[in-house]
Amino acid sequence: MNVTQILFWFLSVLALFGALMVVTSKNPVHSVLWLIATFFSISGHYILLNAQFLAIVNIIVYAGAIMVLFLFVIMLMNLNKTTEPKKNRWLKLAGGVAGGCLLLVFIAALKSSEITQQTAEVKTGDIGLIKNLGRELFSTYVVPFEISSILFLSAMVGAVVIGKKE
C-alpha cells in the first residue's frame, strides 16, 4: 500500500464519514461544516486524480462560496440550534432502508460493469490542468460556456425577483 492508496482510502473514509455526519447531525451548522469537510476530501480526490483546476474550483466555489452562503442563511434564520423536531422514526428508518437498498442494488448492478477492469489515472495526465481545460473550454465548449451566462442571468433575475423585499 503506497501513499496514494493510503491517501485514497483516507480521503474516501473521510468523505463518507463527512457525508454521514451531514445526514445525521442534529445541528444544521454542524451539517454544513461536515459537508465542507466532505467537499475538502473530494477536492483531495481531485488532486489525487491530478484535476487541479477542479480541486481549486471546488474549494473556492463550493466549500468557500456556496457553503458560506448556506451557513449564512442558516445563521440568518437562527437555525443553529437543534430545531428540527423529531421526525417519525419509522419514516426515517424507511428512508434509510430505501437508500441503503438503492446503494446495494447499485453496487450489485455495477460491480461487474463493462469497465470493471479499467483504472483511473492517479497523479498523472495533464488534462486536468488549467491550461488544457481553459483551451478546451474556450474553443470546443465556447457555446455552452456562453449559454451558461443565460443561466446566470436568470439566476440573477431570480434572486432579484424572489429575494427582494417589497
Binding site: A94, A98, C101
Partner: protein
Amino acid sequence: MQNALQIAWLIPLFPLLGFLINGLGRKHLSKSAIGVIGSGVILASFVMSIWVFLQVKDGNTHVADYFNFISVGDLSIPFAFQLDQLSSLFLLIITGVGFLIHVYSASYMHEEKTEHFGRYFSYLNLFVFSMLLLVMGGNYVIMFIGWEGVGLCSYLLIGYWFKKAEYNKAANKAFIMNRIGDLAFLIAIFWIIKKVGNVNYHDVFQFAGENKFSTADITGITLLLFVGATGKSAQIPLYTWLPDAMAGPTPVSALIHAATMVTAGIYMIARSNVLYSLSHTTMNIVAIVGLATALLAATIALKQNDIKKVLAYSTVSQLGFMFLALGTGAYVAAVFHVMTHAFFKALLFLGSGSVIHAMGGEQDIRNMGGLSKKLSVTYFTFLVGCIAIAGIPPFSGFFSKDAILLSAFEKSPVLYGIALFTALLTAFYMFRLLFITFSGKFRGTHEQEHHLHESPAAMTIPLIILAVLSIIGGFVGIPEALMHGGDKLSAFLSPVIKPHEGTPVSHSTEYGLMALSTVLVIAMIIAAWFKFRNYQRSEAAGFGKVLENKWYVDELYDKIIVNPLNKFGGFLNSFIEKFVIDGVVNGVGRIVNYSSRQLRLLQSGQVGSYIFLMVLSMLVVFVLQFFLRK
C-alpha cells in the same frame, strides 16, 4: 265468362273499399249510408263469389300473380290469388254468411253513435277482407297476411267497446293467443322456404307429391302449421281466447265463429292436405287434439250460463270435430262441417243476439226463460239451429257430423266412441240452452219483461235465411250410403282434396251408426227437456263447479305461464337490469371514482413521501431490470 276469374281481385277489393270508406268517412256519413255501404260491398263480393263459383264449378281454376310482394334473391313471393274449388267454396261461405251478418248488424248496432257505427262496419269489412285474402291467397305468405289480418280484426272487434277494460283484455288475449299460433305458422313457412325455396301452393304440393320432404321435415312443417291452426281455430291448448272473445258485439261473434277466423285453421289444413297426408304422426295428433278439444269444450259448455259462452264452447267443440275429421283424413267432411257449421252457428249467434237485444243486453240465461212466446221467430230459428247442431236428420248438421263420425269410426272405434259421446253432450247442452232460455217462466226483471220484443225484420230475415240454410245445407253432402251421387261436395272438391282413402265400412254398418247416433241424440234431447224445461236457478257444486269454471284452465295458464313471465320480467327489470347489468356499468364508474379518491391520497403534499415513492419505484425498476429480467 272466363273473366270472372280474371277480375276476382274485386272480391277482396270491395270489402277493402268498404273499410276505407267507412273508416275514413265515419264522421261524415249517415248511419244508413254506412250500413248500406258496409253490407253492399259484401253483397258485391258475394255476387262475384257466386260468379267465380260457377266458373270453378265448370272446372276452371286460376292462379293469378299480381305483383311481387317480396322478391329477394332466389326467394320470390308473388302477391297471388288462387281460385279453385276449395277457395271458391269458402268465398261463398264467407261472403254469403258475412253478408247476412252485416245486414243483421246494421240493425243490431243501430243504437251506436254514428262514428262508432262507421268504425264497427269498417272493422267488419276489414275482417271479411282479411278472411278473403286468407282463402284466396295463392301461397302461404298471402294466406298468412289474411291469417294475421283476421287476428287483428278480431282484436279490434272484440275490443270494439274499448271503454270496458275487461273487453280490451279479452281482445288482447285473443290477439296474443293467435300470435302464438301465428309464430308456429310462420316457422312452418320458413321451413317450407328452406326446403322448397318457395311458398306457392302449387310448388309446395308438387314438391311434396314428389316425396322430396323427409319425414322429419314433413312432420315438423305440418305440426307447426297445426299449431298455427290451433291458435286460430281455438284448439287445445290455445282455445281459451275464443270464449272470452264474446266480449265483442254479438254479430261479431257470429262472424268470428261462423264464417271467418276460426275456420281459417280448417281451411289451412284442408288446403295443405297433400302435406298432411304424408305425415301419420301429425294426422294422429290432429285427430287426438281435435277430439280432446271437442270433448273438453263440450263438458265446459254443459255448465255455462252465459248464452254466448255456451255457443262459444260449442264452437270450440265443433271445431274439435272438424279437426278430428282432418286428423282422420276426412278433409271433405271437415270442410263440409265448416259449411254447415257456418250456417247454424251463425244462426245461433244471431239468434242469441236477437235474444240479448230483446233482453236489453242481458246475457245470463238464468235470468231468461219463457222467451218463446215473445220471440217466436227467434225461437223457431234457434230451435232449427239447435236441431242442426245436434245432428238430427235431415238437418245439415246431421250429414256433416255423420261424415266425421264415420271417418272416426274408420280410423278407430275408440275415437268414434268418444266423438259420439261428445256429439251427445252437444245435443244435451244445446237443448239445455234452448230450454232454459225459451221455456219455462221468465226469470228476468220486470223491466226486461216489459221491454221484451221481437227483433226487427233486418234481424229476423237473416235468421230465417240462415235457418233455411241450416235445414237444407246438408244436402250437398248426402252420404253415398243414403243416396248414390249424393256426396256432391266430395266430387266438387276432388281436384283439390284427394278422395279419402280409408278402409270403407260397409253400408250396413253405416246405417247402424247413423241410427245409433240419431237415437241417442234424441234421447239426450228428451233428457234435456225433462231436466231444463222448468229451470230453477241453482248453484253448481262439485264437479259442476269445475266445469262452470272451465276446468280452471285459464287459472292454470295464469299460474304457470302468465304470472311467472310477469314475475320474471319484473325480476329482470328491478334486479338484473338495475343491479347486475347497470350495476356493472355504474360499478366501473364507481370504481373509477373510488380509485380516484384513494389515488388522490398518494398526493400527500409531503416532499419526503414524494421522493420516497420515487426512490422506491427506482428501486423496483433497477431490481427488475438487473436481476429479474432475462
